[in-house]
Symmetry: C2
Subunit: 380 residues, 2 copies
């Protein structure tokens, strides 16, 4: 990092959606040279970089060709061609997170096996290859069927409560996950750089929208007691170290009524549950990701102000070019930050943006969130 | 602002340097569609926008052609062709700040006349057209000669102490400004939107580097007593209203030993003395500028954390492609934010970036600034 010429370090980012966009906003501060690969010619990042390549990140040749002249390749989505990434590593490209980490994380079945092998706490499960295997597990109803690969934002998950429901099940390799009585859902973002420095962000607590299977809002800090916070921190660091990840790992946890912690799932990238770090923490998850892959010292993750984060999702009955209602009313509030992702088309429940609310106390932030919740709408 | 489609509002920005870059970082949150005009084909903003036009912003036709298909035209530098801006206004383009405001502000002589006409306090002065008129004012030595147009970053100012020094004077239209005994130099950034809403940021206090004639560091909040703060606020609002500006106005003040406030000069744009607002205030000057020109409600300007801002300037003996030393050591500190401007070439004293330091108290932020001051260097 001495005699550093940031613009000469070529960073390739697989994915040019909202996560990439927020990475770029931070990369601008360090004058980093980021190139984007995304299949969508209207990707949110398209006009924010020198090199935008429109192509599939699941195609071997496209990923290989995109990455071969880069110093570092990273991701904002895990569903990428890892075969190409392994081959890029062989020619000396640094791939962070490493291809084997991406392979483990992008398959919810391999995640479960990884947790099991490393004696990490997670709910009971069975792996199946197709729908017709589900009836074998009828004694365990109700359970969740999760597609092993490709699910996102609540898609790829179905709750199965009885044999009659099996017809609605996915006919694809899946995890059958036993239902647990969840008291709280929380999330920890942990970063590790190439030198092995590891830092966690304080736990955030999630409240889900049952209709959309999306995070409705989250708040930071969580309401956990400090010993539980410490337990989650220790566990998160253990997971990052067991994976040997360089980059960002977002881990979602269930906390049961008796206080038992179970790992729900993890993603090897910046995550929706860390968006509030932009305004509310000393370092944001996006800058921390860049620090991790550039082997810089990790930033201080502590909280500047308590925060609530609301997802802005497409209205139920609207599909088409997005319009935004309520901008003036929303932006009157102190400590309210709108992030529009710049997706051209809105669809029901599509993540179109988020709003971060900061205040002196978490109670005040929640009150403010409640009062602004319905002000801002995405329509078509 | 209802049924708002931000990407359909075409905003043209004259200038694509660091100020433009920081405006774009905020514009990304609202998915705004900004085009840039800049004469430098390596301008820091070049790769951050869909439309980058390489051309002179002082050329009538270039500015007119750039602006004619825009809804709003704004600036990050005041030395632009205002004739073209007046003609753009005539065809319905909104030009913020308005061309007449830019004309007043870009000429330090017209600024002085404006202050005089509006009974706004400023130091005594004379206007001259050429060097040979200076000797007429020999009874008033020492004074500062300031070029009426085109000075920036300490360039275009010379101190004249005796008749012998006149040979070093500028031979161009200038302001001769009587020296005053200055106790403090402070700055206020004030915004006004099209509806007439006006808001000031809290006063920041500047400490100058006498060699470079650049701000060495500034701190926020200033150490002024609350009645003086209020007086500056009232005066700043009065100036913005007298100008009828829509946009951002940065006003630099002298405070004399007896407490008298004098206006030093003003710039009709975002300003070096407001960079700390990115991390340290609820709204940043860059977002506030966008809110002003889009006629959105102005954001809350209050302080989240006390801050110090250090300019990162090119080392004295280095000229050439910029390299950065000390990145790892610098980024270890909590609450320290590096902003590199992405200028390809460094020159002695060239502004290459800035560092914002936040902490719980202004004393702690100053202490931290002192300890990191010499860690980071720009070399060639």
């Amino acid at each position: 990092m001495e005699h550093f010429q940031p613009s000469e370090v070529k960073i390739g980012l697989l994915g040019g959606g909202q996560l990439g966009k927020m990475i770029i906003q931070e990369a601008i501060n360090y004058n980093l040279n980021i190139s984007i690969l995304d299949p969508d010619k209207h990707a949110p990042c398209k006009h924010l970089v020198k090199e935008f390549v429109c192509g599939s990140f699941s195609d071997y040749q496209t990923v290989y060709d995109f990455g071969k002249d880069k110093h570092i390749v990273t991701i904002e989505i895990e569903n990428v061609n890892t075969e190409a990434l392994f081959d890029l590593e062989k020619i000396g490209v640094k791939v962070f997170p490493q291809p084997q980490v991406i392979e483990t994380c992008k398959d919810k079945g391999l995640q479960k096996i990884f947790f099991q092998n490393n004696e990490l706490p997670t709910s009971d499960f069975f792996l199946i290859d197709s729908k017709n295997q589900i009836s074998k597990y009828k004694d365990f109803f109700p359970f969740f069927q999760k597609l092993r690969v490709g699910g996102y934002d609540g898609k790829g998950v179905v709750k199965l409560t009885s044999v009659e429901k099996i017809e609605h099940a996915f006919d694809a390799p899946s995890v059958l996950e036993m239902q647990v009585e969840v008291l709280k859902e929380v999330s920890v973002i942990v970063n590790r750089n190439e030198s092995g420095e590891v830092k966690c962000f304080p736990t955030v607590q999630c409240v889900f929208n049952p209709q959309a299977h999306l995070v409705d809002y989250l708040f930071s800090p969580s309401d956990l007691k400090s010993n539980k916070e410490q337990e989650l921190k220790t566990l998160s660091i253990k997971i990052a170290q067991a994976l040997n990840i360089v980059g960002t790992l977002a881990i979602e946890y269930f906390i049961k009524k008796d206080g038992t912690i179970l790992i729900n799932e993890m993603a090897p990238r910046v995550h929706n549950s860390g968006h509030q770090t932009i305004e509310a923490n000393y370092v944001s998850q996006f800058e921390q990701h860049l620090r991790s892959i550039l082997n810089m010292p990790l930033g201080d993750t502590s909280i500047v102000k308590p925060a609530v984060m609301l997802n802005v999702i497409g209205s139920e009955n609207a599909e088409g070019p997005a319009k935004y209602d309520g901008m003036s009313n929303l932006t009157k509030y102190k400590g309210v930050y709108l992030h529009l992702y710049g997706k051209h088309i809105t669809k029901p429940y599509r993540k179109m943006g988020h709003i971060t609310i900061i205040d002196e106390t978490i109670e005040a932030a929640k009150m403010k969130a409640l009062s602004i919740k319905d002000i801002f709408k995405v329509t078509a």
